[in-house]
Symmetry: C2
Subunit: 409 residues, 2 copies
């Protein structure tokens, strides 16, 4: 018991900080969207720009995608077939999965969210069904996303499990040497910043047959040809020793999540998944609104518009990097962690920024170690230079005050 | 290992039957919806009526709900806020949860599906956070839905766990006598037919403080005042020893799922859940299309239209019960299991029915024991008498042939 989960302890540890966050007005804010990552607080009309939005290309308010979502519901006259997809599904589901598969050169199955993609595929990998019947040693990166960590009890019921330090290729190689079959579970791009050592991991795959399981939720769309993300961009074509889960919300701008398993045209794994992976058997998948947006976004990902948005995002990242120093500076990715230090100071800073018209997520224990609290900034293609400069100016001036305060404490 | 899960074994056991089902053309059929539970196969234009649709009140194609879904996307101009709900959420999320809470006299939290409602709340109950800090003995009914069984590894990491025979009140009472804190996990209405002994369970709750956890996915909307389902209909007001998860798709006709925890106005549990239950913290919730439909459906549930639909459903159930004998006859619920016997015979019968214009799900091992295969019929308010009579006539004539064949085998 309590090998992986301990909700009572988690709540005890984090409850005070959530209280502080809530009192600061930064918890569960109900808003209206006014476009381009800007919002209006329903309670008092205060307007702000979201500096922690994961819609990296601004596709969440893209008029074409929004229209496509509404049109798909009306065209089908329903949100769902009211049956398991294993029985009946609409053409738009088939079309959306084909479009994703073609776009990324993989076989894609869609699910309701990236978390459900983890639920669908982690026990499947652990069972050994994708590795010649041999359950692999399941090696989790310590920083792998919570939605994958939350699956550990199920994974441990199918295979041996171990957690290693973040990006510890050496430890992983050692395990590869000592075990017949190893699977490594990691994020491609980490939700609090940073990237997996993908080239080195592919080298281990080449040498030892290492199975790679990546969460690309923060990478899809934002980087790579056609927005294929850091993993596919680094690989020389997809292979049958790799599985990717990702979000179709975040950068992609639609709804739901996806599992990429097998090269385009290799349906064996998809068939196994459909017949065995629990969430795929149940009633709900992405509704027709989400599927309409997936189709429109897949088309956009093939166009020059995608490249233009990626370029604007890179320009905004460069602008930010020139103004605020972070550990992630220069990595070409949109996530920046501005370390502040104390939890109280971080919340106070976020509160001041909100008053000045900038929402930013304060990040703290248990998401990150104690005393290393800070702000998770997520850059978007549809931020103006004025917004970024204004925000960075405030972070630098208010943040210095915090540092001084922390030093004096 | 393999205490709860064994995907390799599950696939080995069920693969041949899925092959048979697929060959029979009853697996993953891609269709267009043509209204009122009728579909057209995209591949060949064949039209059929779905006799296994869980849209018990026909709300999946209700023009008002479909329109509300599309309108909500357009009104908000986005499918999601691109932030965790713990940070930012749209007014339509707040409105939808308030409408559900008012409708059913509970505190309702929405999630992406009923399966995610199980993921959200089963570890929470097991942790003891809702039972004065004491982790209860978690007692699962053997027939509790797969989405709850799939959570057993996580539940077992928080509390002691045991599975008892279906509807075995005596065994449950014995456990209540011998344990300080017990929680019982069951369906209100079972997905293959039948109902929990709710009055007796409430008696155990009264006597021993038993915590009750119900999946009401197949019950919400179809029965009870305002469609509140069998559990709330039997209870004398909601209480703090009961938690309900349900679907907002199925009978309700929208998207997503919900957790009912606490009487309307008692927010303590909601606050605990929001700060601790993993799926609630992540990026995706019901998209604005689904939330628009939830709001419209909640309004419909307060109207005479709901009562009219429930009455028509009951008339259709009565019509069916007068024509085909099942174990469920007379229970007032829309799920009927027509036992056939052999798996091959069941698939053949389903195939013949499909040719004649009726889709019905063949149910077999591992969903149900070997040699007890049959058809899962789900009645709807928007079936015509002709459809029901035609279907029942074929089941009786073709089914007799199967029985004769089975006898001879």
């Amino acid at each position: 018991m309590h090998q992986f989960l301990n909700l009572k302890k988690s709540v005890r540890i984090s409850t005070e900080f959530w209280d502080v966050t809530e009192k600061a007005g930064l918890f569960g804010v109900t808003v209206d969207g006014i476009g381009d990552g800007r919002h209006r607080v329903l309670a008092d009309g205060h307007e702000f720009v979201n500096m922690s939005s994961y819609s990296y290309l601004g596709l969440d308010t893209h008029p074409g995608l929004v229209r496509a979502a509404a049109d798909a519901v009306l065209a089908q006259g329903a949100l769902n077939t009211s049956a398991s997809r294993l029985r009946l599904h609409f053409g738009v589901l088939q079309d959306a999965e084909a479009a994703l598969s073609d776009l990324f050169g993989v076989e894609a199955i869609t699910v309701n969210s990236c978390a459900l993609a983890a639920w669908t595929s982690l026990p499947l990998v652990a069972s050994g069904l994708l590795t010649d019947g041999v359950p692999p040693l399941m090696v989790f990166d310590k920083n792998a996303h919570f939605c994958m960590n939350a699956m550990k009890p199920s994974v441990a019921d199918e295979a041996e499990i171990i957690t290693i330090r973040h990006n510890d290729v050496e430890a992983l190689e050692d395990l590869c040497r000592r075990h017949r079959q190893v699977a490594y579970v990691a994020d491609g791009v980490y939700s609090t910043g940073g990237v997996a050592p993908i080239a080195e991991l592919l080298r281990l795959q080449e040498r030892y047959g290492l199975f790679l399981f990546f969460d690309e939720a923060h990478s899809t769309s934002t980087v790579g040809r056609n927005g294929r993300g850091v993993v596919l961009e680094t690989m020389d074509g997809f292979n049958d020793r790799t599985l990717i889960i990702t979000s179709l919300n975040k950068g992609f701008g639609a709804s739901g999540g996806a599992v990429f398993l097998g090269r385009r045209g290799a349906r064996e794994w998809v068939d196994i998944a459909l017949r065995s992976a629990a969430p795929l058997m149940w009633s709900q998948r992405i509704n027709t609104a989400g599927l309409g947006a997936v189709l429109a976004s897949a088309e956009l990902h093939r166009s020059a518009e995608l490249t233009g948005l990626q370029d604007r995002l890179q320009a905004n990242i460069d602008l930010f990097d020139g103004l605020v120093d972070t550990a992630e500076r220069g990595d070409g990715l949109p996530i920046r962690f501005v370390q502040v230090g104390s939890e109280a100071g971080t919340v106070e800073l976020a509160q001041d920024l909100m008053r000045a018209g900038y929402f930013v997520s304060p990040i703290f224990f248990p998401v990150i170690g104690r005393g290393r609290a800070g702000l998770r900034v997520m850059l978007r293609s549809n931020m103006t230079a004025e917004e970024i400069e204004g925000f960075c100016g405030l972070v630098n001036s208010l943040g210095r005050r915090e540092s001084a305060g922390a030093g004096a404490a």
